[in-house]
């Protein structure tokens, strides 16, 4: 085997579990899974894009063997049903009605939860009713993930809205999250706390931007400064990624 040596000696990676949003999302799903049976079983996790909702979903679905689907804007009811069945590894029946039954039965028997990501894409279509049908048929725990205005959009579907057990807002990444991300992704360079603070501010709470910035800082430390640690003073006036388009200077 011709593995490069630096990879062989790395310790096993940590998990994303300690991140705020990952913990919130997993707890929310567990709340639905462990609820008393007379309570509704749909829960909803929402927040702006880039805040780590999908990595939270990845952790939660790995931990609880959840079925996971990511909705697309072009999906019809049938497409939604077929996608869930594909995820279950079941050959889809020909009618929507039969597919709802197949899915409900599988959810009931397996006791595994269902995660529906990018719920916004189907919230304005009749496909929402399909999720409700599946829930009614299975009483399974279902986690809906969407953008910031998901609750407003869902309010339109009153019968659906009633079946939601809990709402949880994703939180902006704080300094603790930033430190944990640095531990996960920035193993070669030690970034001083004062610089991590600036990274967290510039990234305005978005996990995705923090990761971009950590990478940038690590590159500068290694290739420009040639050292394995970096502080705010050493970073100096270099720019961090804020997600804004650059301003023209005239």
């Amino acid at each position: 085997m011709n593995q490069t040596t630096n990879v062989v000696n790395l310790p096993p990676s940590g998990t994303t579990a300690p991140l705020q949003n990952v913990a919130l999302c997993t707890r929310l799903l567990q709340q639905a899974m462990n609820r008393p049976t007379h309570l509704p079983g749909i829960v909803s996790f929402y927040g702006p894009s880039g805040w780590g909702k999908s990595i939270s979903a990845a952790y939660a679905s790995n931990k609880h063997s959840a079925y996971y689907i990511e909705c697309k804007s072009t999906w019809t009811r049938k497409a939604l049903l077929q996608a869930i069945l594909k995820e279950m590894g079941i050959a889809p029946a020909s009618t929507n009605y039969a597919m709802v039954e197949q899915i409900s039965e599988e959810l009931t028997l397996s006791g595994r939860p269902l995660i529906v990501d990018e719920m916004d894409h189907i919230v304005e279509k009749k496909a929402v009713e399909v999720i409700r049908d599946i829930y009614e048929g299975s009483n399974a725990a279902i986690l809906l993930i969407g953008e910031e205005n998901l609750p407003t959009k869902l309010r339109k579907w009153e019968r659906f809205h009633n079946r939601i057990l809990a709402w949880e807002q994703a939180q902006p990444a704080d300094l603790t999250d930033t430190k944990h991300l640095a531990n996960l992704y920035c193993k070669e360079v030690k970034i001083a706390d004062d610089l991590l603070q600036i990274i967290q501010k510039a990234s305005r709470g978005a996990v995705r931007r923090i990761c971009v910035n950590l990478h940038r800082v690590q590159q500068v430390a290694l290739s420009e400064l040639g050292q394995d640690s970096i502080t705010k003073a050493q970073w100096g006036k270099r720019e961090l990624y804020t997600g804004e388009a650059p301003v023209r200077r005239v």
């Binding site: 990676s13 590894g89 050959a91 028997l109």
Partner: protein
């Protein structure tokens, strides 16, 4: 309870999956069955001892109930006690869970969810407390899936540091089972039941 509609796993089945689906059919009416009953319905005709081992494992893990007969020569009869859905339980003969392949399963699931990733990010995001994924394992798996053209490389690795980044092609999410890297240097997709990449053999 209403009679369930016919549910079949998509794609080709391995022996365990085929056996489990037959067992579930007996379970619909709480009918009893024997190892011979199962074998007679399997197209591939695996050995009876293989079927018995699986039934013993399922009984130990309390999926089945086994009725042993006093009289010699009368085969054990089984009934389905706990139906957990389409996915055949992966149990050993002693009833313990087969944990092999967990890391691959978690990686396969995570690739689809997180979009773009490098080996390190994939390992981190696919890890849980019960099954940590080693970056080395992620790198190896990614390498093979890339060769099988399941992954598209979005950013090349740079010698200055920085791993290559990849994205799972949407059409290549063939199903929930992770494609297997086989010892003979090939990738097998159990959802499709075919080898999707094979190392070229150069004739000497």
């Amino acid at each position: 309870m209403t009679k369930p509609i016919d549910i079949q796993a998509a794609g080709p089945k391995n022996d365990r999956q085929a056996m489990w689906e037959i067992i579930r059919k007996y379970g619909v009416d709480d009918k009893t069955f024997t190892a011979v009953d199962i074998r007679s319905q399997l197209p591939a005709y695996p050995s009876l001892s293989k079927i018995r081992d699986y039934l013993t494992g399922l009984t130990a893990a309390e999926y089945l109930e086994c009725k042993k007969h006093e009289k010699r020569g009368v085969p054990n009869s089984y009934t389905l006690k706990r139906d957990t859905g389409i996915e055949a339980p992966r149990v050993r003969k002693d009833g313990s869970l087969v944990t092999q392949g967990m890391a691959r399963k978690q990686m396969w699931r995570t690739m689809k969810i997180i979009g773009e990733f490098n080996a390190h990010e994939l390992a981190t995001n696919a890890s849980t407390e019960t099954c940590l994924v080693a970056p080395r394992d992620a790198k190896d798996y990614i390498g093979h899936l890339h060769k099988a053209k399941y992954l598209h490389m979005t950013v090349k690795a740079r010698p200055s540091g920085g791993q290559a980044r990849y994205r799972l092609l949407p059409s290549k999410y063939t199903g929930p089972k992770p494609p297997k890297v086989q010892k003979v240097k090939s990738v097998y997709d159990p959802n499709l039941g075919k080898v999707v990449w094979q190392q070229e053999v150069t004739p000497e």
